[in-house]
């Protein structure tokens, strides 16, 4: 590896934390979705780092599966957002409270 494994993991943690911040602090549903994508990518980065470190292909197979999951999740989530916007005319999560969450 060109850099120590620790640095890859630290970069992954930083990106993951930025994603958590986006989910916690933003009110726009689309930006929350983008932050979830960011978190998934941080996990992918650490998986690739471990895969390089142990010289094993398993981590990269897991990245493949995580990408499949992300594609499915985004498709369903964005469909939910579109149908939600059609019904309530807003994408601000403060106004979407029909479940009293």
């Amino acid at each position: 590896m060109i850099v120590p494994l620790e640095h890859v993991i630290i970069l992954s943690i930083i990106i993951f934390s930025i994603g958590i911040m986006g989910v916690v602090f933003r009110k726009n549903v689309i930006i929350i979705f983008m932050s979830i994508e960011l978190m998934l990518n941080a996990v992918n980065l650490s998986l690739v780092g471990f895969s390089r470190y142990y010289n094993s292909v398993d981590g990269q197979v897991f990245v493949f599966l995580v990408m499949t999951l992300a594609a499915a999740e985004v498709a369903v989530g964005l469909a939910i957002i579109v149908s939600l916007f059609r019904n309530k005319q807003t994408i601000n999560i403060d106004e979407i409270n029909i479940l009293r969450g």
Binding site: L11, G22, L38, V48, A70, I81, V82
Partner: protein, 166 residues
Amino acid sequence: MTAALFYFIACLTIISALFVVLNRNPVYSAVMLVFCFFSLAALYVLLEAYFVAVLEIIVYAGAIMVLFLFVIMLINVGKEIAATSIIVKAKVLPFVLVVLFSLNIILLILWRNEGLHQSNTISSVGSITAIGQALFTKYLLPFEIASLLLLVALIGTVYLAKKRVS
């Protein structure tokens, strides 16, 4: 030299990720997210995971971001921009918790007693052949389940997004 390149691209990734979260306009956020995906793909190339890098650009920067931009254009975000503010009041606790969480893991990694020994064996881990062989022998069942998951997501999306005819 390549290590310096890695750190440079890592900084670019972090900055673009910050812009994704901090931007007021969702369209700019999407553009910065595309930039973030491209720099992550560059990091994968530097880590010699070529297949994952190509997949990152095709799946994320290609498919998922086009989907995001479509939805942003479908939904009229013009009035949302003015309504949402970046600075949120009274959310100190989650901020502190997230910072403590990440600092905790970083310090745990940096202050371990035994060092991680570097493995120097050259292998063809990043090659498409190796990944394909693992995917179709050892991980055949997860692969098939992933295809089933995509089918279910397809059906669910069509059902959710169609207009209700009453």
